[in-house]
């Protein structure tokens, strides 16, 4: 049960349910993904996108209504969770409130009838790994959120699962602790040389942790790629929006030269790069605030600074350009409200997608 595997294959995994008015809805629609041993995968998306559903299907907590899950050649989607042997860290930790921390962590080993001496040694090692010595005899209720979270991780990894599933484990922690635990999780993943699937709605978390990110929306996979690709080359407008492309402008295509497009409309003229098949003349253009620089240069837009939000090293400024287009810009340049500025953007960073059907 605890053997390592070569790959976990999800083939068209779907999960439907009947909503209160009796309509069949897909919480997860045909997720196909092959996860190799040792990978750190993040399922990323807004709430309700199906990422937790996907995780629960893999864990066996929700039956799939379509597709198959297999571990190497063995089909596992019909096994109950206790037969799959995956470790899981729950969003609210789900620590057993009536057991000491020690017994919480030992529970999985007890269920496997591990000899007492071995349980003791492995629990001690797990405590060491999550750096939580000295709290073994407390009840979970006596621990802080961060400590409870470590117990939840210790409890999941002590059984040495081939696959570790994490459901937004950091969402209940404060910002500072979240950064610390993020590094811890990455360290534990490396040290154990196991496979991890991690669910989050925090793109920064996904970018910093994952080897590969699966971006989801409305139960559908939008993009599966490494963090750099998801960040710089979003597959569609949804992903772009979710990954922080705050400027989305409706424009028209003028001239085409392969991927390179000349765009116009709303009093603007820009060069951009097509990221999807562009059929019609109407397009949506996504630009990240960080990719816009203030100063003279090619591929520029003239505008007037409308507001400045001071942010230390870089400030967030809003610039009104063309025919009433508002652009968000993150820049180190010092500008004041009312200044006339020229903004320039590399054509590679002007991402062009088919127009949203409004």
């Amino acid at each position: 049960m605890n053997q390592q595997f070569k790959e976990l294959r999800l083939a068209a995994v779907s999960r439907h349910f009947d909503n209160p008015s009796g309509v069949r809805v897909a919480a997860l629609h045909e997720l196909t993904l092959t996860i190799r041993r040792g990978e750190f995968i993040c399922l990323l998306g807004p709430s309700g996108c199906g990422k937790t559903t996907a995780l629960n299907c893999i864990a066996g907590l929700l039956p799939v209504t379509g597709g198959t899950i297999s571990l190497d050649e063995r089909r596992i989607d019909l096994l109950p969770p206790e037969k799959r042997g995956f470790g899981m860290v729950f969003q609210n930790y789900a620590l057993f409130p009536h057991m000491t921390v020690q017994r919480n962590v030992a529970f999985g080993l007890m269920m496997r009838n591990t000899p007492a001496a071995e349980i003791k040694a492995r629990v001690a090692r797990a405590f060491q790994l999550v750096q939580l010595g000295g709290h073994e005899d407390k009840l979970p209720g006596q621990l802080s959120g961060g400590q409870q979270q470590r117990v939840a991780i210790a409890r999941a990894i002590v059984i040495e699962p081939p696959l570790l599933l994490m459901d937004e484990p950091l969402s209940n922690l404060d910002a500072k602790l979240r950064l610390e635990m993020r590094a811890e999780i990455r360290r534990i993943h490396r040290e154990l040389d196991r496979t991890t699937i991690y669910v989050t709605h925090d793109q920064e978390e996904a970018l910093s942790l994952a080897d590969r990110i699966v971006v989801m929306k409305d139960g559908l996979v939008q993009q599966v790629a490494g963090p750099e690709d998801v960040y710089a080359q979003p597959a569609n407008l949804h992903v772009a929006r979710f990954m922080g492309y705050r400027n989305v402008i409706a424009l028209n295509v003028g001239a085409r030269n392969g991927d390179r497009l000349t765009l116009e409309g709303s009093g603007l003229g820009l060069e951009g790069t097509a990221k999807q098949e562009i059929a019609g003349p109407h397009v949506s253009v996504a630009i990240r605030p960080e990719d816009i620089s203030v100063g003279a240069g090619p591929n520029g837009i003239d505008g007037r600074v409308e507001s400045v939000e001071y942010g230390g090293h870089v400030s967030l400024i809003d610039v009104r350009a063309g025919e009433n287009v508002l652009l968000h810009v993150r820049t180190g340049a010092r500008v004041k409200m009312g200044d006339q500025v020229r903004l320039t953007i590399s054509p590679q960073r002007v991402l062009v997608y088919p127009a949203e059907s409004a």
């Binding site: 864990a59 066996g60 907590l61 109950p80 969770p81 206790e82 799959r84 042997g85 995956f86 470790g87 899981m88 729950f90 969003q91 609210n92 930790y93 789900a94 620590l95 057993f96 409130p97 009536h98 529970f107 999985g108 269920m111 496997r112 009840l139 979970p140 209720g141 959120g145 409870q148 939840a152 409890r155 999941a156 059984i159 599933l165 209940n172």
Partner: protein, 288 residues
Amino acid sequence: MSAVAARLRVDTGLLLVAPAVVFLLLFFIYPFGYGFVLSFQPVEGNWLANYQKFFSDEHLWRTLIITFQLSLPVTILNVGLALPIAFQLRRKTRYQRWITTLLVIPITLGTVLIAEGMLTYFGPRGWLSQFLQLLHIYDGPIRLTHNFAGVVLSLVISGFPFAFLLMLSYVTGIDPTLARAAATLGAGPWDQFRHIYLPLLAPGLAITFCLAFVQAFSVFPSAVLVGAPSGPTRVISLAAYEAAFEQYDYSMASAVAMIMGFAQLIVVVAVLGLRRGLYRGPVGGGKG
């Protein structure tokens, strides 16, 4: 007034409990104290004569034993049935509401109404008996009324919904994620119940047991209507009734009532004492 109260650190909000306190004093503490004193003022003999009489007259002390013989098995049966059924209904399904409604209906019926129904249904010439004879499953008459079994049946019909409702609220109060967490750690359904649900339910189980026991111990109408009040189901409340309203010996009746209350108290204290050793904290799985 409020300034004085503030200086004396008196919480004026406490005045809100005054009506309840007055009610308790007038309608519980005073009658109880009155009965307690009255029980030591027998019609004849020394101040303990009533109690001496109760424990020396077999006709009287046997009622205490009979009441225990009735109420303990009935309580164990009610709570024992309520726990697994409530556990099975812990998940919200479309059936849960229907089954719950069906199980709870008897609570709306009075004991007398239940007894009436039982006499027509379970009696020797009742529907059940006739039905079994018709199908030749059992040809003899069915004796489920006017005996010990009749009272047990009646107490289960009226007591089970009560125990079930209490257990249902305890079971559904437990975060289902805990069982799911246990499952991912290798616990099958039985282990999930034994290691997660049962320990978290135990305090609620104790409370339910106490309440169901007190309810069953004070059985009176069904002991008369569907029991055999002259012998096998001559319960202690019947002895108190006879003393008060047939012999007009209120002092003796008070003594019987005191003994009855004390017997209930012993069981409740014992069960709650067992509960002290158990975990009684929140039944959630962490933050959130």
